[in-house]
Amino acid sequence: MATVNVAQKHQFSWYEKFYFWSIGKGMWITIRHFVKTAFFNKQVTVEFPEKKRQYSSRFRGLHSMKRDELGRERCTACFCCMWICPADAIKIEASEVPQVRQHLHPEDKFAKKFEINLLRCIFCGLCEEACPKGAIYLDGTGELAADNRDDLILTKERMMEKVGGPLIGQRN
């Protein structure tokens, strides 16, 4: 069996000490990118926030709540999303639909309070999957920075979209 002596340190010869080959290899990558971006307009990055990239249709971003074709809220406060949420981010308070709001809700139960704590949310999309009414979708943006904690608690008013939305179980 051949033996390799690892105890002995490799002795560099004088030309090896300049690292020409390694530096040249690295420089070649840099020059290649420089030429690409400077002369052929092929840069990898975008000038955020002036320019924004298109999200994939499967991207999971900020939550939004949908209404049906008649403008009624789809959410009936069935607590399925709150139950499935692995990060315990969703808080719902259900209530009976009062007479004055009847035109807004097809069922007799609605979410009086619906809050998503974005500090807890892990954007796994399980709430979207669990919803039997297609009321919640994670189809918003991915830019969620805020300068205080209150802004990171999504209320129903902030999530509720005007009319329409994808069909139940579908995404745009």
Partner: protein
Amino acid sequence: MAKIKIDGVALEVDEKKNLIDAAKDVGVDIPYFCYHPALTVVGMCRMCLIEIEGVPRLQAACNTPVKEGLSIITKSARVKEARSGTMEFLLANHPLDCPVCDKAGECRLQDNAFGSGEGESRFEFEKRNIPQEEIGTNLYINHNRCIVCYRCVRFEEEKVGESNLGLFERGYHSIIGLAKDEPIHHNYQGALADICPVGALLNHKTLFKSRVWWYKSHKSVCHKCSTGCHVTTNVRDNKMYRYMVRENHEKQMFFLCDKGRFDLDWMNQNRLFAYQEAGNPSTSIEVIPKIANSIQNAKGIVVLGGAHESNEMLVRIKAALNELSSLLSKPILWESRTSDSQYKDPEQVDFLLTTDEHPNTKGAIEIGALTTDGIETIAKDIKSGKLDMVFVIKEELELGSKATRVQLDTNLTESAKLANYAVPLKIFCEEAGSFTNKKGWKQDFEKSMEPPKGLPSSAEFFEKLLIAIRAKEELVVGNR
């Protein structure tokens, strides 16, 4: 016992029971809606159809008497077809709003649709829609969900003895409604919602609070009166949400009254979390030595109450009190009967509730937590100053301000605020134990909630007091 044949298997069943229950005992499930073990049989839902050998047509199992030599078939294609037909008719007008319905998860219609239904509906027309009504002080009816099983009407007539509900119109138009002008206000509105196999009857008090599958359930006993109904506790996030009936065929326990069912808020709100001194929060390190001091200087000591505690707790309290009295060489009186109704045999208010609001009066009496003279004489002695140290265990009593009062309580009550010292206690369901009910049945309950950290039980408090007094005596001996 009678020998019958179910699906060709010879089995021995109890002939006194209904066929559905008898079959369930030997592991054969017959689906049903309208049958209830404690109510009369009407055979309205046609869900429990079975084949009987020698009878040409299908028969309702609930209405078939169990007798020697009976041979039934519960799983043939004919039976299955009949059941799925029944299910389809029942679901024709059912709104299928399970995400909204509070019964979802414990709904018999869901179970039977899963077990016997087709899974598909051929009903193409507009479903009938009748707005829901408020029919009781704590009761709703959603007519769309109703399957007209007649359980609520039978329960009211047979058990409560009031006929508020009735079945009106016929066939497709059948509707359960109020027979009187005024809403229902008897003590069994929770039971009405409970026996409803679907979500047609619902209580205001628990409406939309939670979902059924979130609860952790434990076997327990109702705390509200000396009947000691069997209950299942439903706890979520360490909060008691509701009591449900734990059916017991031997003891004939199938119902709960509203007084017990809905008296749960005190377990979740306004709890006493800290030792208190004259209404101000304090700590055990400060309070217990002070109580030990005053108990040593007291002329007469009395402990009142204890009928709210479990039997196991009472044994420990008794041991601690005996040791205390021998250590102090003073007698300690213990009277657990603090209300008039505890001195008599319990009287029924209605078919479940009794006048005695203590779950364990009998257990306390059996253990000897009583005096010969009773509470009247003790109250007089306290007012005259003969007894100047009073421990009150979870009772609201007017005793005057002469004696040093130590209130042991689970909640921040008026007595706890006014007492010289208040000691926080665990609730009975935060520890396992047993209650002895009015009939002398010793009924065990499980621990269903986690107690707040560091809270003592009443026995633990007396044991702590004992340790404090012992330590003091040792200190005196050591200094000599």
